[in-house]
Amino acid sequence: MTRVVASKLSGAVIAVFGASLVAFLFLRALPGNPARLIVGPLATPQAIVNQEHTMGLNQPLWVQYWRYIKGIFSGNWGFSYSTGETVRSELFSRLPASLELGLYAFLFAFVFAVLLALIATYRRRPWVDGTIRAISFFGLGTPPFWFGLVALLLLSQIWPIFPGPEGRLSLNVVAPPTVTHLYTVDALIAGQWSTLLNALWHLALPAITLGLAPFAFLVRLLRANLLDTSRENFIVVARSKGLGRFAAFARHALPNAFLPTLTAGGLLLAQLLAGSVLVEEVFNWPGVGQFVVNAILEQDYSVVQTFVLLSAVAYVFVNLVVDILYGVVDPRVRVPVAR
């Protein structure tokens, strides 16, 4: 087992290294010059050269790359030219909001996808199945920003059930004592139930909006897989042993149908964790989305490089976990351990 994990881990390190290199090179291959952007349109050529010099942009690429990697490991992630703050503080103040939103969006997508796919395939009523398929088509075909706006209009403006686009907590609610930076978890740890409810109440609409497309995708995938596995011979055998329809379904069809969903779910989770510009914008969510988009437009090298690197780490980590989980659920892919 340790050998398997070690081999997967070394693959993960290579993937992260590759991502850092690609982000680094792409940024420098783009037309434009960050030094010129910083000193402004009226600066003299000498001022631009001086600025390039301070930023180290006149040095060979491999030296720049080396400084960037060294910085990452020594905790010096550079400065954001556009805000003047360190990249670390900028990202760390915004990432937890995006992470929390992504996690809840994924939770919503996964739980409801499993539930609805189960209902659609277990209760073989055509109208139930049809309704669920219609929901899934809607989810896949609806732009999230539009869905978010309509949800806000209906469920916050017309019927004020959910809060408006006011961020992670109501204005009069104080953030819980910081442990994980995720408000729901921190509130739970501190035992502040009203804060927890307030945080969840604020998360509901953005999380559903962000999770809608992944939810729709997972429903379709899981429904198709469940239909396939429920027609397998081993289901007939399970029934011939005296198992009820539901027991045969839950114990034999579901675990088999779940395998491809696990892979897809991992990719979706990683994607959701990286945040979403449009949904964060619609709900005024203080996440990384808008910040990073600005950084890309301003050619803010350090910010973009670090964000790409962190996303890569998240992707690779989630997939690593999925790989290991896969080995637990599916005996066929378990790599034989040397005896």
Binding site: R124, E232, N233, F234, V236, V237, A238, R239, S240, K241, G242, L243, G244, R245, R251, H252, P255, N256, L259, V329, D330, P331, R332
Partner: protein, 354 residues
């Protein structure tokens, strides 16, 4: 009935009695009449063979008896009596207590009949704890014992293995172990050897034969392999187009086939000791579509005796009982009596002799 007569006739207790069972599948192409008023009975410890080509309704018959026909199929008529109880009127909940305990299934195709992500041991334990009031530990011991019974080597160690780590023959043994786990009165074995090579087939059949003999279990063996039937079964039911067209004791049937279909079916079996040069013997034509059955005898279009006769083409033959009334030969053919008596006018022409 006098006491003497009652004593003279041995008591024949039927494990299973199927009466006029009818199963339809409602498909887009029309109503497929897979089982058409089939009647049969199995005595305690008796082994019957149900023989027929693919699509003759054999598997549908098995699933109908177990109450496992899924939509778009439905059992539309007839009755099934198991151990004196009318199980065809049972709810699914009631049937769950019967399946795997009083009657069990050895499924065809061992490659797909086991759950790939559950260990072999758990799949055997599952059927034991479903029907016996014992703990998991005792059930595991029983499962190991069952694996030994079906001659899986290193039974204890192989409990934790998964189906992909077993060979086809070993998986089929596991399926037999599952079917026999609760010592049922009847085992329905649906093509238990089809997917296996000949040597493995023989080994698996030996295991099945020994175990059912030890437990006096009745067996309904569904197959298209007449060789298997000849070795294994006491009585044979030949199915064609959803009907039992001939039933007879095995020795009687192999000596004389009264239905022309049985005769040509038997003749198309290859035998190593009788190989002749020339084309392989086949039955011309195809079985009729069960959605569009011919007006008369379903075998008429392919029948070497009845093809072209107006009677055969227009009138469905009624079953005729012949021979020993205790174990009659029952045949659905207009010329059953003539053929049973060996009338040469109704014999199937031998290739080369015509």
């Amino acid at each position: 009935m006098s006491e003497a007569a009652a004593a003279a006739a041995p008591v024949r207790e039927h494990v299973l009695e199927v009466r006029e069972l009818e199963t339809n599948f409602y498909t887009a192409e029309g109503v497929v009449r897979a089982v058409r008023k089939v009647s049969l009975e199995i005595e305690r410890g008796q082994r019957i063979g149900v023989v027929g080509e693919s699509g003759s309704g054999k598997s549908a018959l098995a699933l109908s008896i177990l109450g496992l026909i899924e939509p778009p199929g439905r059992v539309v008529g007839g009755s099934v009596v198991l151990n004196g109880r009318l199980i065809s009127s049972f709810s699914d909940g009631q049937m769950q207590k019967v399946r795997g305990k009083e009657v069990s299934l050895v499924f065809q195709d061992p490659m797909t009949a086991l759950d790939p992500v559950m260990s072999i041991g758990d799949q055997i334990v599952e059927v034991i704890v479903r029907h016996q009031p014992i703990g998991r530990r005792a059930a595991r011991r029983a499962a190991v014992e069952l694996l030994r019974d079906v001659e899986v080597p290193n039974a204890e160690r192989r409990m934790g293995d998964y189906p992909h780590q077993y060979s086809g023959g070993m998986r089929q043994r596991v399926l037999i172990a599952i079917a026999l786990a609760n010592e049922p009165d009847l085992v329905i074995a649906d093509e238990p050897t089809t997917a296996l090579d000949v040597t493995t087939q023989a080994q698996v059949l030996d295991v099945l034969e020994r175990l059912v003999a030890e437990r006096n279990t009745a067996v309904m063996l569904i197959t298209h392999n007449l060789g298997v039937v000849a070795e294994f079964c006491d009585r044979i039911f030949v199915m064609y187009a959803g009907r039992v067209v001939e039933q007879a004791d095995a020795d009687v049937l192999f000596a004389r086939q009264t239905h022309p279909y049985t005769e040509v079916l038997l003749r198309s079996v290859l035998r190593a000791d009788r190989l002749e040069r020339g084309p392989l013997p086949t039955i011309p034509g195809f079985p009729p579509s069960l959605a569009q059955l011919p007006a008369g005898c379903p075998f008429e279009p392919r029948c070497p005796v009845g093809h072209g006769r107006e009677l055969c083409a227009t009138v469905v033959p009624e079953p005729v009982s012949l021979g020993d009334p205790a174990d009659p030969v029952v045949v659905e053919c207009h010329f059953a009596r003539e053929r049973f008596d060996g009338d040469p006018g109704f014999a199937v022409a031998r290739p080369g002799s015509a």
